[in-house]
């Protein structure tokens, strides 16, 4: 018996990103340049599913996540929530839509106002949107704290009295205050100890089931993403290089970068010999100075001439998998 089923394949699309681009202009020793943080990402998120976005430093996943909730304005492209284009909406128009999508942040120490007590932190979004009388708001705040595992006595504590994992749970309670349908979680467990990480991941899974939430889960840990997400998108240097079902991508990666990423995960090996890994050479590249052609070509073990010249587009294969590669890995040997 499954505890949570992935979204129906035909569930309505809740969030859509169309060719989202975000460039940051900077001034360096070489003059004016662009940090091409997000370089054209398109994807759809269906109601009820968890979409995982995975990648290493500099791949643009966090920036992309912020573009999705309009914390950052994309340089170009569009974001549609529930069918509505929110990309160019005014602040006022956006305000009412914002109750539909919320964000959970990475750093449990920086994302909470240290001067505000726990209940007040959770109440604030509700007050801003005028969701009822003071008593109603407070009652709901207490209820939310209980939902994430705190009893009432925690309501009047300050953030510094909570541990990292507890703070993260407080952040989740806050994100749920407006009864959103979509939660963007930006590395919500990376800063936590392993045992606490598991607690928070379980909590997120429970909440998704109870409240029928949709998640976009951004992380660098592919094992965690594989566990919690129904579909996985892999990002590299601002681009989506692979997108597909979680188990399928994990067991049969088709993009060389995904393959290398997977093989780099230190697995708990109960076999006597230690497995051979594909170790990438070179450093993570620079989003200012992207290589021509395929962004991954300088480090790709299968790269050929065409890869350095022509940028591969994200193409949908027969089984629904999307890969941006001229020579996708045919049989994913894991």
């Amino acid at each position: 018996m499954t505890a949570s089923s992935p979204a129906e394949p035909n569930a309505p699309i809740l969030l859509e990103a169309r060719d989202v681009v975000k460039h940051f202009p900077i001034r360096t020793a070489q003059g004016r340049q662009q940090v091409r943080a997000v370089d054209g990402v398109s994807l759809k998120v269906r109601t009820g599913e968890t979409l995982g976005l995975v990648g290493e430093s500099g791949c643009g996943k966090s920036t992309f996540g912020r573009c999705l909730v309009k914390l950052i304005d994309p340089t170009s492209g569009s974001v549609l929530f529930d069918g509505e284009d929110i990309t160019h909406m005014s602040r006022r128009e956006l305000r009412s839509r914002r109750t539909g999508f919320q964000m959970i942040f990475q750093d449990p120490y920086a994302s909470l106002n240290p001067r505000r007590r726990a209940a007040a932190t959770v109440e604030e979004p509700m007050r801003t949107h005028g969701m009822g009388t003071d008593q109603e708001i407070r009652a709901r705040a207490i209820h939310l704290l209980q939902t994430v595992g705190f009893d009432e006595s925690y309501a009047n504590r300050y953030p510094h009295e909570f541990s990292g994992g507890q703070r993260q749970r407080l952040g989740i309670a806050r994100a749920l205050a407006l009864s959103p349908r979509l939660l963007i979680a930006d590395e919500p467990v990376s800063a936590l100890d392993v045992s606490i990480q598991a607690q928070v991941l379980n909590l997120l899974a429970d909440l998704q089931e109870e409240q029928k939430l949709t998640y976009v889960f951004i992380a660098h840990d592919l094992a965690v993403v594989h566990h919690i997400a129904d579909r996985i998108g892999v990002m590299y240097l601002g681009e989506l290089v692979e997108l597909g079902g979680s188990t399928e991508v994990y067991n049969n990666p088709r993009h060389p970068y995904t393959e290398a990423l997977l093989s780099a995960i230190p697995v708990i090996d109960t076999d006597t010999e230690v497995r051979e890994r594909i170790v990438l050479t070179g450093d993570l590249p620079n989003p200012i100075d992207k290589p021509s052609g395929c962004a991954f070509s300088p480090r790709c073990r299968y790269a050929q001439d065409i890869c350095r010249v022509e940028k591969p587009l994200l193409q949908i294969q027969l089984d629904g998998r999307e890969v941006a590669c001229h020579f996708p890995v045919a049989t994913g040997a894991k």
Binding site: M1, T2, A3, S4, E56, S57, S163, G165, Q166, D193, V194, S195, I196, Q197, A198, Q199, L201, N202, A205, H220, D221, L222, A223, V224, H226, H227, I228, S246, T247, Y250, N251, A260, L261, S263, A264, I265, P266, V267, I268, D269, T270, T272, V274, R277, V279, L280, T281, D283, L284, K334
Partner: protein, 340 residues
Amino acid sequence: MSEPLLEVRNLRVSFRTRTGTVTAVDGISFTVDPGEVVGLVGESGSGKSVSMLTVLRLIDNPNCVIEGEVLFKGNDLLTMSDADLRSIRGREIAMIFQDPMTALTPVYTAGWHISEQIRAHEKVSKKAANDRAIQLLTSVGIPNAESRVNSYPHEFSGGMRQRVVIAMALSCNPSLLIADEPTTALDVTIQAQILELLRDLQSEFGASIVLITHDMGVVSQMANRVMVMYGGRLVEAGSRLDVMREPAHPYTWGLMGSIPPTDGTRAVRLAAIPGAPISPSDSDRDRCLFAPRCTFATDSCRPQPGLIEHRPGHSDACIIPFGERAQRRTEALAPMRART
């Protein structure tokens, strides 16, 4: 039977604070043999870092009280003179830390740092030391070592900087390398590079490594033996295979259960440990420190048992009869049944 390289006997490290005594390391004992890689696993507050910093007496806190013995090649490092200790640091025992960004003084070049270490222990000229620095940088996989030797730390990426630190640590051919979470701050593909480098260097130079980490996967890749710490105490110790295949202590089950399965299946839920990790200031140290979070705890979990060797080479600190462990383990990991 050859003598162990490092022998820690009943090491206890506590800090006097205004609110009382905080015990960071509570009487641990273990050995490291020449040429072996020992993984020291634990979460925050487990005392793993403090215990190894104490080996080199790197804790610069006047309120720190250290008891016990740390024998290196038979000599007690804790009672050694400062001069003797300094000759061991960097030459016989080297240490690398977690954050490569802050490990090197930013105003000196990579070559300067490596030369400083070499010349602190050997009488060589500046030029000779510099040449050796270039060789070392090449051996850790830094391209263009002749020019990179004059680069400043901020001019290297995280992974490259960690390589510089590794080069520096190995410059005097130490017999023991202590690596405190060396890859935690690095991206996963870079982590793979660094771990591979460490493995290669270890087999080439034959140094022993104590690898401190919270990542069971890293330990599984690198270590010959594994030790698990909780609340300043050792709760399990054994060969890598024993501990990974048949972990014996409930905390180890909790750690293994907290990690999503890596065999390609997806679990329904993770077998998370309830509650928060013990903080070092918890004063009730008579009982088993893990008992408050342990599903199988009973009243007889007081006092804390020491490490008991239930099988040759595999010991743990739990009073559950050894015959029942396998069943309990399955119970503990039950939430992780696969999704259908």
